[in-house]
């Protein structure tokens, strides 16, 4: 059985999928690009589509051929890669469902099963998918293991526990204590590193594979490089005019979230960075006539990404920085091959969502200065408490420190039932006018 699955996986990976993807690309674009206030689209977007389509398409064939792991966005995936796991990120999948405007439809299945509409909509999409099978990617493989870290929120813990309970799938959980102030203590890092070490025998048992240190080191090296490249990609937006926008960053962060530690991820960002550097050298603007530069706080409003991107550009606004895309470039510098477990503990414990708001304020202030932002948009994501609670005061503090104006958009990542496009438009237009006036 395993041999047949393995052969099928390899055949799809090496033969069928490359052919299918090429054929797909040869098809004419369905929608010709009409009048747009945006600059020329990034060429790399095609490679991105190919990469992510391949990832989700191949995922269907991974079952039986590779140990399949469902992972949270803030988990040390490097460990799983050392076991050759095929990884699926429910958060990334939920974002995709959001972008395809399938959020409410899928959430409804979770809500029918009793999950409150007030819960994180990423979780509701995922639970709704587990109950209904609904997805824009055909099918997700059933996981052999769930791998979860509560550094982004506690919600993830309840959500993955629920998946584990409902589907009878083993859960490996790493507890990363909240760092209310300071840089963390040896006790915290020992605690987290110890849990990562404990996860090794647990994963050996679950995957039936041996932990290979050489492979682990290769993965860590690759992960460090991919995150550094991603950081360089984001840093190109410091240039005036910015060669891409934060809305592009939301789209192009998928590989560093989902494929970190794989060579394909590094290759992808090498290409994207080269394209952006070339744009910088020629002053190609993502928003022609860029007049203002803004910073975005919180996760994207996936279902409204394109209209918002257009609206900003129409007013000469380039989104040039975002706390969310920055998260995947923020702490990888702690990774150290000489101390893989200890440094993984630091890398994943010290992410900004796991730290006090004073840290976040400092980070946003520095980003605002580095990227020369003169405006701030705070997406108050109704179903994401850890990211959103505190934003009103962050806004005030940043106005004082940076002297920038800001606007709060009440929205959600995927669930557009509480979103009014018209209201958002009115609010943003008034905001833009206040800056111009």
């Amino acid at each position: 059985m395993r041999v047949a699955s393995e052969l099928r996986f390899r055949w799809m990976k090496d033969v069928a999928l490359p052919v299918l993807l090429k054929a797909r690309e040869r098809r004419p674009r369905e929608r010709p690009r009409g009048e747009s206030p945006l600059g020329p689209p990034l060429e790399s977007t095609r490679s991105l589509k190919r990469l992510m389509t391949r990832h989700y398409a191949l995922a269907r064939y991974a079952e039986g051929a590779r140990p399949v792991a469902w992972v949270t966005s803030g988990a040390p995936v490097e460990l799983l890669r050392a076991f050759g796991c095929y990884t699926v990120y429910p958060e990334n999948h939920a974002a995709l469902c959001g972008a395809r405007r399938m959020g409410p439809e899928i959430c409804a299945h979770a809500e029918e099963a009793g999950f409150s509409r007030d819960l994180c909509s990423y979780a509701r999409v995922d639970l709704g998918h587990a109950l209904s099978g609904l997805t824009p990617v055909g099918r997700l493989p059933r996981p052999d293991v769930l791998f979860c870290t509560n550094n982004i929120c506690q919600t993830i813990l309840y959500w993955f526990k629920e998946l584990s309970h409902g589907e009878g799938i083993p859960l490996v959980m790493l507890d990363t204590p909240f760092i209310a102030s300071g840089e963390g203590t040896p006790e915290v890092f020992d605690y987290v590193a110890g849990q990562i070490k404990d996860a090794v025998p647990a994963l050996e048992r679950i995957t039936g594979r041996e932990f290979r240190e050489d492979r682990f080191h290769d993965v860590l090296r690759s992960s460090i490089r991919a995150s550094a490249l991603w950081g360089d990609v984001l840093a190109t937006m410091r240039h005036r005019p910015a060669p891409m926008t934060v809305f592009d960053a939301f789209v192009h962060l998928a590989p560093v979230v989902s494929l970190r530690g794989l060579p394909s991820c590094e290759r992808y960002y090498e290409g994207l960075l080269a394209e952006l550097q070339e744009r910088v050298s020629r002053d190609v603007a993502a928003v022609p006539g860029e007049r203002h530069r803004l910073m975005w706080d919180n996760i994207a409003i996936w279902f409204a990404l394109a209209p918002l991107s257009r609206l900003f550009a129409e007013h000469g606004w380039a989104g040039v920085a975002g706390t969310y895309p920055n998260a995947w470039a923020e702490t990888t510098h702690y990774l150290d091959l000489a101390d893989p477990f200890g440094s993984l503990a630091k890398t994943y414990t010290l992410i900004f969502l796991n730290r006090g708001l004073d840290y976040r304020l400092g980070l946003m202030e520095a980003m605002g200065r580095d990227y020369q932002a003169d405006g701030l948009v705070l997406h108050s994501a109704r179903s994401c408490k850890p990211y959103s609670v505190g934003q009103y005061d962050l806004r005030q503090a940043l106005a004082q420190r940076l002297g920038i104006k800001s606007v709060v958009l009440e929205g959600d990542m995927t669930d557009f039932r509480t979103w009014s496009e018209e209201q958002a438009k009115t609010r943003l237009t008034a905001f833009f006018e206040s800056l111009d006036g």
Binding site: L357, S380, P386, Y392
Partner: protein, 358 residues
Amino acid sequence: MGRTTYLQGQKAAGRKVAAVWPARYPAELLWAHGVCPAEVWDPPAGQALAGAHLQSYVCGVVRQGLEFLLSGGLAVADFLLFPHTCDSIQNLGSLVRDLVHEPKPCLFFYPPRSGGSERAAVYLEAQLRTLSADLTRIAGPLRDGALEGALALGRGRTAAVSELYALRARGGLNASNAEFYGAVRACEYLWPEDAVLHLKAFTKTHAGRQRRGVPLVLSGVLPAPSDLAQRLDGLGVAVVEDDLLVCGRRFARAPLPEPGDPWKAVAARLLALPPCCTTGDGVEDRAAFLAEQVERSGARGVVFLALKFCEPELFQIPSLSGAMRARGIPVLIVETELGTTTPAGMMTRVEAFLESLP
């Protein structure tokens, strides 16, 4: 005597007062440092001030706690303690300290989520020592034997609460729901010796045959709105056990073996509390605990109080209620919020549930 007057009395007696947010924290350590914890669950507060800091989708416990703080309700406290219970309290603590710039010291405490593992115990012990160092700065150092003494006080208080719960579960307590929760929830601010005296006096006065009523178990964060217990009395419900985060989920039903080392003993007590979503316990453990409470009390059903915007609770209610149904235990899930008046619709649903019970 009102809560604030009592706490002022504590200060006059030389103790410090800590305003402590939900839910699990090492009370013994605070007592050992001469600190009287006053918990902030559902203080009487409006909505006027907190709205400038919090979105409308934040739970009432966080909103009302902040409102109470901002309106001066916690003036008596010398410092604030935020146990890391959920994402909302995590951000509230940080918000109060870093952005609202509360002048009183704000302390944090993180209950580990990795179950009863040895690593969790070691980490917890390290944290207790860090917290003790913070408390030393505020309230002075630990005296010799103070932690052992505080552990003894804790054992006494747990024994008194347990006795009261056991009596109620056996049908030997002649107290209304409102009287019962009024008595037990006084432990949220009473010094442990006073709490024991208060509970014992209550037990003595109310020992006797239970009033008639439909025996039910309550699960949720707390009895909310504040008139709920009374309204349940009015409907003829006799709450005989509970899995409420504020009450029944915060004391072990049976005495625990205690390690000789007092630090380890405080950690062990925290790790041995009944299973809870806020500390990452799974549905299986919670279902087993809840079923045990139903069995020991002879309850005819479980009412889940689904507190609006409370993620930890709301995530587990579907599976937990499903597990109860699978055991043949009737359940009712009602959405609830803090406030003073139970909506008529909620009472109608409870009534219908009572009528449907076999």
